[in-house]
């Protein structure tokens, strides 16, 4: 605990990029603009109001070159060339928040409490973070976390939401206890079907009664070795924007399943029905539809495993080299279930493919690293495309995969531009 406490104080000392208007000022600003600020009295300090949001200063604990898609709630993605590390550093992991994180100064890891309840366990039980750390065996895994909407930007017709390009992905090392062990301590019952979470983030509207997001995973996923209740990333306390001090991590599933600022786990005897489990959120049409189709809620199915995908992290797009030079490329490939079998590259828009060398994953749900050296036949403009294939022979498409109303699961192959001069 001493380590957790001391390292957390260093992250606590990072000053947020903004200080904020007082409550009265917010109300005054709202009335000046001729519109009421709904729930102004609840507005949490932490982020700017009224779209005065052109401040591109970096987010606390995050690399300054992350692309900020949205600052209320905070959503930021990592440019592909910044994801070159085999182990994603904490400051380069994307941020996808649905609400407002709890204030950092109000988070005390020594008293942070996780409770478990629901029809699927025999007793309601709770643990402080130090109790979790003391009572259960610790495990560390490198797990790929990817937002279900990564790649949304490319869908046509466009899908609403944060317009992620390729950077809502990362693969850091997570440390925590197995969710399975904690569920066993709560007396897991055979009728358990789904595990849902609740966190301490607050709704954008400021209404304290409104749950921001409460999703989860089927019980079979919850019981896997790599399904963690985690407090550390790369050996340090979790970054504040990524769920400090406690979160769930389910590698291979949409990142929204991995609840942040975790305070409650519910073990359900049915599919969990918290906010953003139903409707059209994190769901795709159960059967394929033509682009632009309006799909009724009852014909939308929950996303589980993420599709096979890859990313070229070196070089950065736009590289110019000489004809007599060989271009080294490298990057990562991952899949929500099973393993990546091969990664290929094309410099002729998919007409021919050459195989890259590919490493095995360090553990299930960790991404795999590929590399190749490319010779170009003549001077000119090229695109390097990379395509991963899994052990079942399923590969990334070159065009956009199945259109869906909310723009999830775009795993079209990554492309970079190269000029031979």
């Amino acid at each position: 605990m001493a380590k957790t406490a001391s390292s957390s104080s260093s992250s606590l000392s990072q000053v947020p990029r903004r200080t904020f208007l007082g409550r009265t000022s917010r109300v005054a600003l709202g009335s000046l603009l001729g519109s009421k600020v709904v729930f102004a009295k609840y507005l949490p300090p932490g982020l700017a109001l009224l779209g005065l949001d052109n401040d591109q200063a970096s987010l606390p604990g995050k690399h300054p070159e992350l692309t900020i898609l949205n600052d209320r709630p905070v959503n930021a993605e990592t440019p592909a060339h910044l994801l070159d590390d085999q182990l994603t550093p904490a400051d380069k992991l994307f941020v996808r928040n649905n609400g407002i994180p709890p204030q950092q100064k109000n988070i005390d890891p020594a008293t942070w409490t996780l409770s478990l309840s629901g029809e699927g366990i025999s007793k309601t039980i709770s643990f402080t973070l130090p109790e979790l750390q003391a009572q259960f065996e610790h495990h560390s895994y490198q797990l790929t976390l990817e937002c279900g909407g990564n790649g949304r930007k490319e869908f046509n017709p466009p899908a609403k939401g944060n317009q992620w390009s390729t950077g809502a992905i990362g693969c850091p090392l997570w440390t925590g206890v197995r969710l399975r062990d904690v569920l066993a301590a709560a007396g897991l019952r055979s009728k358990a079907v789904y595990v849902g979470y609740y966190g301490r983030d607050t709704h954008l509207s400021g209404d304290p009664a409104k749950v921001v997001i409460s999703r989860g995973v089927p019980i079979a996923k919850a019981l896997e070795d790599q399904s963690l209740i985690a407090w550390a990333m790369n050996g340090e306390p979790l970054p504040w924007l990524n769920g400090y001090p406690l979160r769930l991590v389910f590698g291979g599933y949409p990142a929204s399943c991995s609840g942040k600022w975790l305070s409650k786990i519910v073990v359900r005897d049915r599919v969990h029905d918290g906010p953003k489990m139903g409707g059209q959120s994190y769901r795709v049409p159960c059967k394929p539809v033509a682009p632009g189709t309006k799909v009724p809620d009852e014909e939308m199915c929950i996303i589980e495993e993420m599709p096979i995908k890859s990313l070229i992290t070196f070089p950065k797009t736009g590289a110019t080299i000489r004809l007599d030079q060989e271009l080294p490329i490298r990057g990562h490939a991952w899949v929500g279930q099973g393993a990546v079998h091969k990664v290929s590259y094309s410099i002729d828009f998919g007409a021919s493919w050459q195989e890259c060398s590919l490493e095995d994953a360090v553990n299930p749900y960790a991404w795999q690293h590929f590399s190749a050296r490319i010779r170009f036949p003549e001077k000119g403009y090229y695109e390097v495309w990379v395509k991963a294939t899994d052990t079942n022979g399923i590969a990334q498409p070159m065009l956009l995969p199945g259109w869906n109303p909310r723009g999830y699961l775009n795993n079209a192959c990554h492309r970079i531009a190269i000029r031979i001069a």
Binding site: P16, N70, P73, N156, K160, A319, T320, M398
Partner: protein, 170 residues
């Protein structure tokens, strides 16, 4: 005559009291002046924040901005929000950015029906209020300035936006 007459003694006491209270005032003033020196910026912000629409940052406590949005328009874009500065702008800014960043508007594209669907979704689940007669100007604005482009099954790489650089391999 070793005793001062009572009324003279009383007058002296009154003068003494006056001097004492004056020095108290002086001390109070001095303390306030010192406080201002120590925390002048934050004290002055007490009366400036009400009228100056700023987001303060840790480096510069007060970043000024005028109340006239037209003064902050460059190439048709209202720079603080990134929104297109055109008819309906004020309603969109006042309504949408009450809850979320203007970036959530500017990064999205949709038809009029698509924008209306988003508004209905926010009303049903996110606490957005009834827009009343402002719904039409808001929809007009969004449908006109944030309409989708047809990019086919996949857009080409944005070649004109690529920042070309020499990759040093030697």
């Amino acid at each position: 005559m070793n005793k001062l007459p009572y009324d003279i003694k009383k007058a002296w006491l009154q003068i003494l009291e006056l001097v004492l209270s004056m020095s108290k005032l002086f001390l109070l003033g001095a303390v306030m002046f010192l406080m201002y020196l120590l925390a002048g910026n934050s004290i002055s912000s007490w009366w400036t924040l009400e009228t100056v629409p700023v987001v303060s940052s840790t480096n510069s406590p007060i970043r000024g901005a005028s109340w006239d949005p037209a003064a902050e328009v460059k190439n048709g874009i209202h720079t603080p929000t990134g929104l297109v500065y055109a008819e309906g702008f004020e309603w969109v800014r006042a309504t949408c950015t009450a809850c979320h960043s203007a970036k959530l508007v500017t990064q999205n594209r949709a038809t009029r029906a698509g924008w209306l669907e988003m508004i209905r979704w926010m009303q049903a689940s996110q606490g957005l209020w009834d827009l009343g007669d402002k719904e039409k100007p808001i929809l007009d604005y969004l449908a006109k300035h944030y309409a989708p482009e047809d990019i086919g099954r996949r857009a080409a790489l944005p070649v004109t936006e690529i920042e070309w650089y020499i990759l040093d391999l030697d």
